[in-house]
Symmetry: C2
Subunit: 138 residues, 2 copies
């Protein structure tokens, strides 16, 4: 099985593609010669990670009948000082909001995603130092 | 230096964030319980790669005064058979269209991106078998 994407150069340094029926545009910022028509590609690496593990966790929690009032996945990526500046350390913060949320089930859902289901985590942790934190607010 | 993103769970299993001033939505497909409100996260890993190296290459070619009529970056990611199904091999195809495009400059631009500038390539190649191909059409 494989995934294929095809991005077309559109204007200046921007690229566009249809991904799963959605128009996705990538561009550089104005300071480096782009027009900011879309997000920076390197940030999308963090979005891919947050989306992958976030979808896992909420799917698992729904099966456990645990429904938070709010749920955020915050991803911080530390960049190397030297070019090419890539992420050498990533922190994933799972922030849940809700009354009487069962901590053990939240932890289990996160663990299942990180160790079993999330293919983006599985890949990134081969090359990047990864940390996880769970925050629960009432 | 670090990049930080914060994705909010919005509905069913979809997540949303503002990335560089752009609304980015991630969702699962309908078959796996999502509503396809946005692309799949794993495909965004390929978009990040295509965008990163594509922006590099077109910036370098502009400096070399080489302007193709069209330029596409196609990325094929082969997934493992077992869960979590992650990319174990990636092929990047740089497809240029134009009359009398100088092959040596195209190759040099691609090589500079892959070996020096593109931070997404730099990271992925630590964990994934990567191949490159250049196609030129008149």
């Amino acid at each position: 099985m494989k995934n294929i994407i095809d991005m077309s150069w559109t204007d200046n340094v921007a690229f566009q593609s249809d991904i799963d029926g959605h128009n996705v545009i990538i561009d550089a910022d104005i300071l480096t010669g782009g027009n900011n028509l879309g997000p920076r590609p390197k940030k999308l690496m963090l979005v891919a990670l947050a989306g992958c593990t976030g979808i896992d966790v909420i799917m698992i929690l729904k099966k456990m009948k645990v429904i938070p009032d709010a749920f955020n996945v915050i991803v911080e990526g530390d960049l190397t000082d030297e070019h090419p500046k890539y992420y050498h350390k990533i922190r994933i913060i799972y922030k849940f909001k809700g009354k009487d949320l069962p901590q053990d089930k939240l932890e289990k859902a996160v663990k299942l995603s990180e160790e079993k289901y999330c293919s983006v985590t599985a890949l990134y942790k081969k090359a990047i130092n990864m940390e996880t934190k769970i925050i629960v607010e009432e």
